[in-house]
């Protein structure tokens, strides 16, 4: 069992996951550090992620999109806030429109990843904090195959509202 525990706090709106892998810390670090590996696991198989900008340094930005079965794209970005290789990574994660501009009104999540050596094996702890229920909802839709279509529809609706407001 790779996933050891998952804790969910409905009051604070945060999520904590502990998983253990049969690989050393340096190897597990590469699944975060190397965008080609990251894009193999970040998105669901039917909505693979492509990270076309990946500046893996403190303060660096990543831009990615997920491509659906009909070629539709959902865009997102990361802001890397701290790196302590190969054991700690923190980043913010948000949505972008099709011109890759961050959609601030949807908020951002804050993630902390830590890797710990268990004598050759690795324990990975991920903590994600959400700003609001709406944003958690959006993140869930962006991460799930069934949800992505709906999430894109909502993004379109928000963009249409903005256009109408101009």
């Amino acid at each position: 069992m790779a996933v050891i525990s998952a804790q969910k706090d409905t009051q604070e709106l945060n999520f904590r996951l502990v998983a253990e892998f049969d690989a050393d810390v340096k190897r597990v670090w590469r699944i975060w550090e190397d965008p080609r590996q990251l894009e193999r696991w970040w998105g669901p198989p039917t909505w693979p992620a492509t990270f076309d900008t990946y500046d893996f340094v403190p303060g660096g930005r990543a831009e990615y999109y997920m491509t659906g079965p009909d070629g539709e794209k959902a865009h997102g970005w990361w802001r890397i806030t701290a790196i302590d290789a190969p054991t700690r990574l923190t980043f913010d994660d948000g949505f972008a429109n099709e011109d890759r501009e961050p959609m601030d009104e949807l908020g951002e999540t804050h993630a902390v990843v830590t890797l710990e050596d268990l004598g050759g094996r690795t324990r990975m702890t991920l903590v994600t904090g959400f700003e609001s229920l709406e944003q958690l909802n959006q993140m869930v839709e962006m991460g799930m195959e069934e949800g992505l279509k709906g999430a894109l529809g909502q993004v379109d609706a928000i963009l249409a509202e903005q256009d109408a407001a101009v």
């Binding site: 790779a2 996933v3 998952a6 969910k8 706090d9 409905t10 009051q11 604070e12 709106l13 999520f15 996951l17 998983a19 892998f21 049969d22 690989a23 190897r27 597990v28 699944i31 590996q37 193999r40 696991w41 970040w42 669901p44 991920l126 994600t128 700003e131 609001s132 229920l133 958690l136 909802n137 993140m139 869930v140 991460g143 799930m144 949800g147």
Partner: protein
Amino acid sequence: MDRLFQALADATRRDIVARVLVAEYSVSGLAEQYDMSFAAVQKHVAVLERASLVTKEKRGREQIVRGEVEGVQRARRLLDDYERIWRQRVARIEDILAEDEDRN
């Protein structure tokens, strides 16, 4: 110290939600329950309000706080979904790591 404060804050918010799900309270009524200032309690209520876990309504001079059962349920459901996303990601990470072993 910081951690202790965070934990306390967390416990207070939990307690506020537990109370207002059972009965409505005014913010000042809540403040009487805790060893902290009115402003501090008001801040906790604002955090909970943003998370859609409580609602606040003005009634005369008082601000009445109520628990939002649907908000709590919805948060739970969404966090369950989010957990599923990460379980799938972890499974894919395992597959990638297993390829290394095959190659060796």
